[in-house]
């Protein structure tokens, strides 16, 4: 059974991390890390500082290739594919320190998010062909819908750089959703949010899951991760030390010792 | 054979000039990641300075050399102080344009100070040209070679042996880290500008006896020196030297075997080639991110 056929099978994983290693000039950031993510689930990735979470994140989003092992998305290897390609295949991400297009409005940010799902180029833009105008309307409507989905409909035309931080986060998520991803990578989305905002974020992420989008969540906020993740992978010093359901992770001795240190009785 | 040797001699002479100009670019780029498009004007000021001090005022050679170098270094210092440090938004594109503006400004100053005429300067020694295997080598060429190599070796020792030099390299590698360990990065940038201007002045001084000096001599020299620096690898001192000599020799051979009118194009064709094939330059690091 080849990879394409495997995907027809409902239970096939959307993302496969296959024994991935990455070294940075002597520092082993990741060593033989491997796990799978099923479609329409939320996968948490946690670990103490320096565990390699960011490295793993950058590998999956195509920032650099693994030194060993493969990352397989939808049955295809992601190695060497350009950013544009990966977005077109359905992988988008958010940034830890929100990188919006600050001079543009919230609406325009989300419209840019649809860049790979639209086609109009120089020619269409210069002559305003009917096809171009239809596409612009579609882009506009979809962007408004996404802003409503994350709750930012009211500030659609405000300058995105002026929005309060919590809303900027939501905007970034809306922008990432604009490309119609099947896999959404979230880099510490709760960072800098207060308790109320974190609640709302949890609700939003669950609604995204209900839409069928798979999410991979790198987070420090333990309660958020435990609450919404279907499965959690725990990294420590570049290795995978545990992977399973939240409840299993909570009681896993390896995980506890990684976070709290080995008990000396 | 004799012809080839003659071309080589002239190529090496010019190459040395390009080398010292390229090194001036490299020193500044290393400390600040800035390409100073006004560098050629420092060369021009060095040459015209010699015209005034050595030819007109008949000062002794060493004194004229020293005063000119110091004078141009001051210009470099002032340039950094008023045109670079005061920039509200030090984005690369803004800084590039500032240096282009400075280049025009300095050229204007040159024209005001010395007019549009071309001047010449006596060679450093009055020895007749050497005859080697039928080809002629001007004594000035030897001066050029010796001084350039001396300057480059001096810089090499400065960067590798002295504390200040190493501090400047540290700034190049990571400005923030250098600042965190207490290196006065602002002073290092100043020093880099001064050194770079001094290199430019030296280039102008030693070239003055073998070329016609005028207010507009700097532009083309600066651009060619820049091509040489890119050829060798922008951050590399010895890369600049290599690039300079390579450019000089290729230019001379081109004049000899192709056509003298296309001589100026050679530098720029090489620039484009190196950009297409190996943007880091011959001796530069393999991975190239920004300039």
């Amino acid at each position: 059974m080849n990879a394409a056929e495997k995907i027809q099978d409902e239970g096939a994983p959307l993302l496969q991390i296959l024994s991935v290693s990455k070294t940075f000039g002597g520092v082993k950031a990741l060593t033989e890390v491997g796990f799978e993510v099923a479609p329409a689930t939320i996968q948490g990735v946690i670990g103490p500082n320096g565990a390699g979470k960011t490295t793993l994140f950058n590998l999956i989003s195509g920032f650099y290739p693994p030194d060993q092992g493969t990352i397989r998305y939808d049955g295809r290897d992601t190695d060497g594919r350009s950013n544009t390609e990966l977005v077109r295949l359905g992988i988008t991400r958010t940034f830890q320190n929100v990188e919006l297009f600050e001079s543009m409005s919230a609406l325009e940010n989300v419209m840019v998010g649809q860049h790979v799902r639209s086609r109009c180029g120089f020619w269409g833009a210069l002559w305003r062909t009917p096809g171009m105008r239809r596409e612009e309307r579609r882009i506009h409507e979809r962007a408004m819908a996404l802003l409503e989905f994350v709750g930012l409909g009211a500030v659609a035309h405000g300058r995105s750089g002026d929005l309060p931080f919590g809303w900027q986060r939501l905007l970034e998520i809306a922008r990432a959703l604009a490309a119609e991803p099947r896999l959404l990578l979230l880099d510490e989305p709760a960072a800098g949010l207060n308790a109320v905002e974190t609640r709302e974020l949890a609700t939003l992420l669950l609604r995204i899951k209900a839409e069928g989008v798979t999410q991979l969540l790198v987070e420090h906020d333990m309660s958020l991760t435990m609450e919404i993740s279907d499965r959690i992978a725990v990294l420590d010093q570049g290795r995978l030390i545990a992977e399973g359901r939240p409840r299993e992770i909570q009681s896993d001795p390896a995980v506890i010792s990684a976070y709290l240190g080995v008990q000396t009785a | 054979m004799q012809e080839l040797l003659q071309y080589l001699f002239s190529g090496i002479t010019n190459g040395a000039i390009y080398a010292v100009i390229a090194v001036g670019f490299a020193v500044l780029f290393n400390a600040t990641e800035l390409i100073n498009f006004a560098h050629g004007e420092f060369v021009m000021l060095g040459a015209l300075g010699m015209v005034t001090l050595y030819s007109s005022l008949q000062l002794p050679l060493t004194l004229a050399f020293l005063l000119t170098t110091v004078g141009v270094s001051c210009v470099g210092f002032l340039f950094e102080r008023f045109a670079i440090r005061t920039v509200k938004r030090p984005e690369p594109i803004v800084l590039v344009i500032i240096t282009v503006g400075a280049s025009i400004f300095l050229r204007g100053v040159g024209m005001l100070g010395w007019g549009k005429d071309a001047f010449s300067v006596d060679p450093f020694s009055t020895h007749p040209p050497f005859s080697i295997a039928g080809a002629h080598l001007l004594p000035q060429s030897l001066w050029i070679l010796v001084i350039v190599l001396g300057a480059v070796v001096g810089l090499h020792l400065f960067f590798n042996r002295s504390l200040t030099g190493k501090a400047m390299l540290a700034c190049a590698i990571s400005r923030r880290a250098a600042w965190l360990v207490g290196i006065p990065t602002g002073r290092m940038v100043q020093l880099a500008f001064v050194l770079s201007a001094a290199m430019g002045a030296v280039a102008g001084i030693i070239i003055a006896p073998v070329t016609m000096c005028s207010y507009d001599m700097g532009t083309l020299l600066g651009l060619k020196g820049f091509c040489a620096a890119m050829l060798g690898g922008l951050g590399s001192l010895w890369g600049g030297v290599l690039g300079g000599f390579l450019l000089g020799v290729l230019e001379a051979l081109g004049v000899g075997f192709l056509s003298s009118s296309l001589k100026d194009a050679i530098a720029f064709v090489l620039l484009l080639l190196i950009l297409y094939v190996r943007p880091a330059g011959l001796l530069g690091a393999r991975k190239v991110q920004r300039f």
Binding site: E102 | L272, V288
Partner: protein, 318 residues
Amino acid sequence: MVARYLRRNWAYLVFLAAVGVTGCLVQNAYYFQVLTFIGINTLLALGLNLLMGYAGQISLGHAAFYGIGAYTTAILTTTWGLSPGLALPCALAIAALVALVVGLPTLKLSGYYLGMGTLGFGMIVHIFLREWTEVTGGASGFIGIPPLTLGPIVFTDDRAYFYLVWATVLLSFILTHRLIRSRVGRALRSIHDSEHAARAVGVDTQRLKLQVFIFSAILAALGGFFYAHLVNFISPDSFNFLVSVRMVTMVVIGGMASVWGALLGASLLTLLPEWLHTFSDFEMVVYGLILMLVMILMPQGLTRGILDAYERSRKNSR
């Protein structure tokens, strides 16, 4: 319906009126020529404006495209006897092709390699124009360029040429605005704000920068076309490094990423030499000083600088 159209496009209508009125009032042939030059320079500045303001790239050899436009039409219409109507698309196509060849390898690299590449390229084109005497006339220039004929109309009249050039400028403004308001324009602005994020969102930044570069080359060649048929004599010195620098200055002073900024910058820089004639010796010094001062104090250019100052004074007076 009409009211909404008027409100949205008021700037263009004012512009159109200004051009029309000026064309009627001016009688002096010299003034017409200066005004036409401003129009041509605006075309040059417009494309470069997009490149520098949005794609964030600098071109230090753009005069080469200006020259390619001028020389192509000169050679085709004079030596080969083609009609200017045919020479125009040829000139634009050649400029586009050359821009593709120069931009493709250099834009693959991040940073300012396009600036370097265009610098070298600009110098090479200038040297070729100067040395390829059989075709271009060499350093002494190319004479005898026929006046522009579009169909039955022959543009020998200064006023008619003035209107033609400015009509083209208006058209270019409209097209550029359309570009900025489109998917392409949004992608360009996103690159300007955060190239990193633009790439993460899937924008093919290298390809877009190349397209903008080609677009700016085409506009420059268009300017060259009009220039050749205006002055009927061209020489390589009109397309050297200093001219490239002047084009950059226009954009910088007017304001990058601002269509009207191109107009302002072009106007100022066309008129400046006229004003500086009195201090002809100081021309370079003043020029260089202006460039430095604007970049140090008002890097967003005069247009933005004036608008910001106006907004600040309004806030303060509240």
